[in-house]
């Protein structure tokens, strides 16, 4: 009897093992974590710069001009600046500033920066805000290369690449921040929104993680007494909503898509969408009524707004479009007038860091905008596997492509309309895999934040280009498993495990996810077909 039991147990284990072996599996970050982002820094290899806009496939004679390319690079330098609380207390690292040697072959010491364009020492700064989420653009945009989505960072060669919000940013320069539990060492970079105010009215705004309290680099900062929000209590109340950084690649192309192109795609697929329970609508600018398209809820109208907002919200650097400091605590703002980052046209050049260049009159946030505009779209795997190639057909067959629209065209064909930013953006395909519309995503994904026309459960169909090298998925980075990310698209119809995942005591009742029909079809696929979809997505 016991032998029979042993045999049954063994058979069961073999069976389970076989199922495990046969089950579909996310192949992981294409190229491997060690060969992207912070994994490279650990080896002493700088994280590559973002690719510049590739030649226009429809108009190869249209090229970026030298000024555009110079601005692109200047923007990378500005993005790479490690912000400190004042301009004058900054210390330029080797490779940045006049005459400094840039590498050990040219006279720099052995401990010189891995990458002067992404330094760990301070450079010229416009003033890190009293409240901020980070002190450098690339801390949150370095996966798989600079300008990418959120990943890991290694501060020096040999260091373990990890979430920069776990230790690096909150404690740099002696800053005395308590790291909330949701910022894990090997978890996603998260920013926090509060769903509601204490009086029960809606909040929805970003509450910065860190303060400059304790920063020892600025002699005028010693009186700073800013206190972090009580994240632990709000977390227990279910009042926090997280978001992770999106990549910046291809945004100039998305900006160059005309509203009509978006609406035409919506209309062309309306019947097929309806059959699967998919609707979707544009989020629109409250003033001019045109379609907004940037951010997790398509809440940002333009790259300019997006850039200005990022500087102020993420780094506390007030600027032309967001001119007010987010915290006007004067104990933390001595010798620090706001806005911090504006056009610099002063005659004496005092606030222009002695650059003596019209180029430098552009503020950092504007150059960030220009660099984003000219970052190329993510490059898919040039040699996709047979499974990945087949996966694209399956992706379309089950209906994923109804919302994750593979291609849209930028405007400007036949010299009519289109973007005026640069000829290189005109009349070319954008393989973004998004319809740029917002959709009800069900109670499991609802974040209870309303932005413009996007309701508490609505999100933009995230562009999937570059998803092959992303580390974390969904707006709050709750999973690093692409299969889970797909399955989490479904909730609210009573047939999903995800329906049990809704947390918090004040979440608004929301309708079922528009993706339920598609996910039902996905679940019916064979293991091989599911695997093909995963392989296809990781090829993007």
């Amino acid at each position: 009897m016991s032998k029979l039991l042993q045999k049954i147990t063994l058979s069961g284990l073999v069976c389970l093992w076989s199922i495990g072996m046969l089950a579909q599996k996310d192949p992981g970050v294409r190229g491997g974590l060690q060969n992207t982002g912070g994994g490279l820094q650990t080896q002493g290899i700088r994280i590559p710069k973002p690719p510049i806009m590739s030649p226009n496939p429809n108009h190869p004679e249209l090229k970026m001009n030298d000024n555009e390319i110079s601005l692109f690079f200047e923007g990378i330098k500005r993005m790479g600046q490690l912000e400190s609380t004042c301009d004058k207390c900054s210390v330029a690292p080797f490779g940045v500033g006049d005459g400094n040697p840039v590498d050990t072959d040219h006279g720099a010491p052995a401990n010189a920066e891995i990458d002067p364009d992404f330094p760990q020492h301070f450079t010229n700064s416009n003033g890190l805000g009293t409240r901020h989420n980070s002190d450098n653009c690339f801390e949150c945009h370095a996966q798989p290369v600079l300008g990418g989505s959120g990943g890991f960072i290694a501060a020096q060669k040999g260091a373990v690449a990890q979430n920069p919000q776990f230790d690096l940013v909150p404690h740099r320069s002696g800053r005395q921040n308590v790291v909330p539990a949701f910022e894990e060492q090997f978890g996603p970079i998260r920013e926090v929104r509060f769903k509601f105010n204490p009086d029960g009215t809606r909040d929805g705004g970003v509450h910065a993680l860190w303060t400059t309290r304790g920063d020892v680099t600025d002699p005028f900062n010693t009186a700073c007494d800013a206190v972090q929000p009580d994240f632990a209590t709000e977390f227990k109340k279910g009042n926090l909503s997280f978001r992770i950084p999106l990549q910046e690649f291809g945004l100039g192309l998305i900006e160059s898509i005309e509203d009509n192109e978006i609406l035409n795609h919506q209309a062309a697929t309306a019947t097929a969408r309806a059959a699967l329970g998919i609707a979707g609508h544009p989020n629109r600018s409250g003033n001019d009524g045109t379609i907004s398209r940037f951010g997790w809820k398509a809440q940002n109208k333009s790259l300019a707004i997006f850039a200005g907002e990022a500087y102020n919200v993420e780094m506390g650097v007030s600027n032309d479009v967001f001119p007010n400091a987010r915290d006007e605590n004067h104990n933390c703002a001595i010798n620090k007038p706001a806005p911090n980052d504006i056009n610099r046209v002063d005659d004496t050049d005092v606030d222009n860091h002695a650059f003596n260049s019209p180029l430098h009159e552009l503020p950092d946030w504007q150059l960030f905008l220009v660099t984003m505009r000219f970052m190329d779209a993510p490059q898919p795997d040039p040699n996709p596997s047979a499974s990945a190639t087949r996966g694209r057909a399956v992706f379309e067959q089950v209906g994923c492509s109804l919302c994750h629209t593979p291609t849209m065209q930028t405007g400007g064909a036949n010299n009519a309309g289109g973007p005026s930013n640069s000829p290189i953006l005109v009349d070319r395909p954008a393989n973004l895999f998004s319809d740029l519309l917002v959709h009800h995503m069900g109670p499991a994904l609802a974040d209870d934040v309303i932005q413009g026309n996007a309701g508490p459960d609505e999100f933009r169909s995230t562009p999937l280009w570059g998803v092959g090298q992303r580390m974390f998925f969904l707006h709050d980075g709750r999973t690093n498993d692409l299969l889970q990310a797909i399955l989490l698209h479904a909730s609210g119809d009573g047939n999903n495990d995800n329906d049990d995942a809704v947390s918090g005591d004040r979440n608004t009742k929301v309708p079922a996810s528009e993706a339920n029909g598609v996910i039902r079809q996905f679940r019916k696929l064979s293991v091989a077909d599911k695997q093909a979809v995963l392989d296809f997505l990781r090829s993007l």
Binding site: P48, S54, G99, V102
Partner: protein, 312 residues
């Protein structure tokens, strides 16, 4: 690891001239599938610097940043009548050899004869960390957005470089203009032509003969300039020592008010003119002036045989 991306054909000469004949005669009515843009992408490692060595007989060449893990080469050409030339011209005429992260590009000998009859344009999209050497007998060269170092040599043609941000750029042309802006370090030399340097790091500029001028704005470090009959004009903050030399050209210097420096100007038969309140003015007969300005500082030395030296 070695691979030859374009293998020479033994019957190349005959076929190439047959191709040229077809190019010059029949391509005005091409098939719909004909491409006029040569396009070749080569994968590179991001772990090592990339080295590119180009030598071509003629054509305008642009090097600009593309992406870190790839070299993309594009080329197009028009014949003397302005008709576009099919890409076979380049597929057969360019030798591209890659050994790991080093790529060598050469034009076949026959290409020089033929391309001199055409207007040829090459575009190289390179990684940021590119160590570049490029020579062209006749043609302009434009470089933008790399770390460097880079060496651009033209027999006849202009050279322009922008945002070479980390290492030395060496630009030499037998005849033509040289323009550099936002380059970390520059050595610029032209047989005849103007040189313009804007916001560059330590630089040396030489116009060997003729009336070619040197114009410098926003110098970020040491500067040395020499002309024959052309003028030198420099307007900048004195971040480093300046040494300015001309034979018959005038030298005009503009530095900010209250700047501190050591002034040392001498001309054999010209004039020294000072238009600043913080400097002692020489008499009309004096042909030199040596003085500490505002307590002294970096050396500003100007020498001319017969040209005028002025500072304001």
């Amino acid at each position: 690891m070695s691979s030859l991306s374009s293998v020479p054909s033994r019957s190349f000469g005959l076929s190439f001239f047959l191709l040229l004949a077809s190019v010059l005669s029949a391509h005005s009515q091409p098939s719909p599938s004909t491409s006029y843009f040569f396009h070749r992408a080569l994968d590179l490692s991001i772990a090592e610097p990339f080295s590119l060595d180009v030598a071509l007989s003629s054509g305008d060449i642009t090097f600009s940043y593309g992406r870190e893990n790839q070299l993309l080469i594009e080329a197009s050409a028009k014949d003397a009548a302005g008709n576009r030339v099919p890409e076979e011209f380049f597929r057969n005429g360019l030798l591209i050899e890659q050994v790991a992260n080093r790529i060598v590009v050469r034009g076949r000998p026959d290409l020089s004869t033929i391309s001199s009859l055409m207007k040829v344009q090459y575009q190289f999209y390179v990684p940021f960390q590119t160590d570049l050497i490029s020579r062209v007998d006749a043609g302009n060269q434009d470089l933008v957005g790399i770390a460097g170092p880079a060496k651009l040599i033209s027999g006849l043609g202009d050279i322009q470089a922008t945002s070479v941000t980390r290492a030395l750029l060496e630009a030499r042309t037998g005849q033509g203009k040289i323009s550099c802006s936002r380059v970390a370090r520059v050595i610029a030399e032209t047989g005849a032509g103007n040189i313009t340097l804007m916001e560059d790091g330590p630089s040396k500029a030489t116009v060997k003969k003729g009336r070619g001028k040197i114009e410098v704005g926003g110098a970020r470090g040491f500067f040395e300039g020499s002309t024959d009959g052309g003028d030198i004009h420099i307007k900048a903050v004195l971040h480093g020592e300046w040494r300015l030399n001309s034979v018959s050209g005038n030298i005009r210097i503009e530095v900010p008010p209250k700047a501190a420096f050591n002034f040392d100007a001498k001309t054999s038969s010209g004039q020294v003119l000072i238009d600043r309140d913080d400097m002692q003015k020489p008499s009309d007969e004096e042909r030199d002036s040596v003085q500490q300005v505002n307590g002294g500082g970096k050396l500003l030395q100007a020498r001319s045989v017969s040209g005028r030296i002025s500072i304001q």
